[in-house]
Subunit: 476 residues, 2 copies
Amino acid sequence: MAKEFVKDITSMDEDFAQWYTDVVTKADLIDYSSVRGSMIIRPYGYALWENIKNELDHRIKETGHENVYMPLFIPESLLQKEKDHIEGFAPEVAWVTHGGSEELTERWCVRPTSEVLFCEHYKNIIHSYRDLPKLYNQWANVVRWEKTTRPFLRTLEFLWQEGHTCHATDEEAHDETKRMLEVYADVCENILAIPVIKGQKTEKEKFAGAKFTYTIESLMHDGKALQSGTSHHLGDGFAKAFGIQFTDQAGNLQYVQQTSWGFTTRIIGAMIMVHGDDRGLVMPPKVAPTQVMIVPIAQHKEGVLDFAYELKDRLSKSVRVEIDASDKKPGWKFNEYEMKGIPLRLEVGPKDIEKGQVILARRDTGEKIIVSMEELDEKLNQILDDIQKNIFQKASKHREERTSIASNLDHLKNNLETKPGFVKAMWCGNRECEDKVKEETGATSRCMPFEQEAVSDKCVCCGVTANQMVYWAKAY
Amino acid sequence: MAKEFVKDITSMDEDFAQWYTDVVTKADLIDYSSVRGSMIIRPYGYALWENIKNELDHRIKETGHENVYMPLFIPESLLQKEKDHIEGFAPEVAWVTHGGSEELTERWCVRPTSEVLFCEHYKNIIHSYRDLPKLYNQWANVVRWEKTTRPFLRTLEFLWQEGHTCHATDEEAHDETKRMLEVYADVCENILAIPVIKGQKTEKEKFAGAKFTYTIESLMHDGKALQSGTSHHLGDGFAKAFGIQFTDQAGNLQYVQQTSWGFTTRIIGAMIMVHGDDRGLVMPPKVAPTQVMIVPIAQHKEGVLDFAYELKDRLSKSVRVEIDASDKKPGWKFNEYEMKGIPLRLEVGPKDIEKGQVILARRDTGEKIIVSMEELDEKLNQILDDIQKNIFQKASKHREERTSIASNLDHLKNNLETKPGFVKAMWCGNRECEDKVKEETGATSRCMPFEQEAVSDKCVCCGVTANQMVYWAKAY
């Protein structure tokens, strides 16, 4: 028999970074390879991504968008067409210089994002107001040449969707920017059970080439923030650089108004750091690849395995259920599926069969519940719903506890040290103050929330009158 | 009002290559960009790919495989580990030499296929017979630096799935190779309505690094063949190069036996060239993004549009239905949706409403059918099934008519000229004869079919005794 040992993971409080690395590798989400900074997304991690992707894709299509696929490469001259954009991305792209044994006459970069490819295409296909709006989305891999990388959080290559739309008016583009941020917030809160703050990025933190950027920000267990999805109003900057014009109803030539928005595999890192604990992952039931794991007890006894397999068949009609009938010990199995964050463990042994019951163990609370066979199907769905709600509430409570108010720089610094998390503070709007906050405290402006509060009337940095509240935090 | 003109496409018989280009662009499947050899897959083309992908993904999962995601890049040293493999692929890979402004110490290629990445991973995760089989699949983009490209058929970048599996025995790997070829054949024949020949590639035509390659070959309207899916038994060549070993039940260290298999966006090219006609695309109902297009007649008349929209809502429960209520003329719409190959057009005007009926027009036969509102739901599904069957039969008949037998080289050459298509002929097994056939006739060995026939007893080239029948054809 193979060795059975309980996989150890570092405690969160001892070393949060090591805890994270332990969890992503030991729960079989990823593996490393000789490709620096990239990750192998293993079956358990990829099944999770597929579930997230399906939820989001469904919403993207429901809001009238169509999927397309653009080339992986961007010729250097095309990338250079929009000035701010190339400045933002040139330092971090991978350059292809040779095809086979031949040197290229022009370098091609591997797409870091696809605005310029969409723009070139939109110029071809948009001519009249009748062609608008164009609501396109793409699921793709992109590459950014990062120096320091961590699985899911910052990788050289990552998977994402990028929406790119064209509209006749600024207002329509604005509505779209808002609509897609709301879709991201919906997926985060209602599917991944991650509470988010919705708001606008400062000029400093906005997307290269955008008019403005909306963002959703979430708070990790260690009190650091994570940007969880962004939606950009591009205005007509790209349209002017690429000449994307249409004839309006009055017969006048106009530039289109554009948006772009993206959501990435990074969200898996957020999910891990928001819900995980010292026993490993905690999967939100709505995206858990396996929602219920059946562990037969005393499975060598007659009838147990047959019963367990029949149960699996029956339950598979309403939940994602698996069974571990291997000859490993129940203790090993308990540990393994807790590590993997499977929401519910179902134990069934000879005595349970006799009594017409099973035992359910909740991953989130550790609670054990005896349920009769008759009530099982109904109860399962009810408990899964309850787990989904409970982990969202837990994360909301944690964020609440880790959100403070500061009225000056010392106060802000002190809050970040004593109780790392979000700090709400006023800002005068000057880049100098934003830079100084970062220099002195290590925190960046996460967003200017849509829900403003007058937590003070002075800038947290320079003390002049200020009416803009900002969420500040150290961030991933 | 916008100009309405009927899009012209070149006739197939006049210039098949131009017909193909007209169809892929004018039916809005793809667009070109400044990225040489790559294509933009537009919403209509991508929705088609999503439908094909879903059908195949479903079957891949049902046969026990799990999806994973491997890195886009392969360091040169890793690619070089298996000798035959690097020789096969090195001339056609794109090389990344710089990240941002820094030159890399080792070049990375963009994956042309991912065998070496899977192998490196398998070495990490396979140790015991308990870890086998490993049945992985990946949906990804790959790049091959082709000089001459055509949309779908041969592109610098294409989308595909690549399966990679490890097994304890040669027999199991052999079974897997066969199983996945059958899955591909099932998707081609029963979903895409493309009849295929199943067989084995010759040594010359097999995959670089494989023990042998199974293939499905289909025949296009112009009589050229197209390789439509391949499944490779890799033996233990990669396992030895990468050191992928496991301890068997007796405690001995063994190398794993591997397979790989791939199916690409190329199949869309096949679908177009098998079913299309001078009016444009013909979509198999099972993958058609829109199965039924409602065209309201005299839609300005009271009640017509309301009726048409209600009908759409009702039908959308059982078929993929759209409505074109734009102010373009019905004639323009008829032409447009015929070009796009939508299986059924549904016409409904004031008189039809009065009579409680609609008119269905079949794309495959041009037949018009009057159907009463009561029978409509049932009839629609029945006719869609019938179209699916009919276009498969039509393609089968075409292949039959274009399949001939040859007993010597002149005969083979003559057949290919007078009636381009598959030629069945015997082959002695020598590479020299295979090369000579290509030189003299332009045809390559497509496969040694599983269903052998003794069409002669001598090699078509050298005339020595031969018992291997081969399908020969000019090919895409």
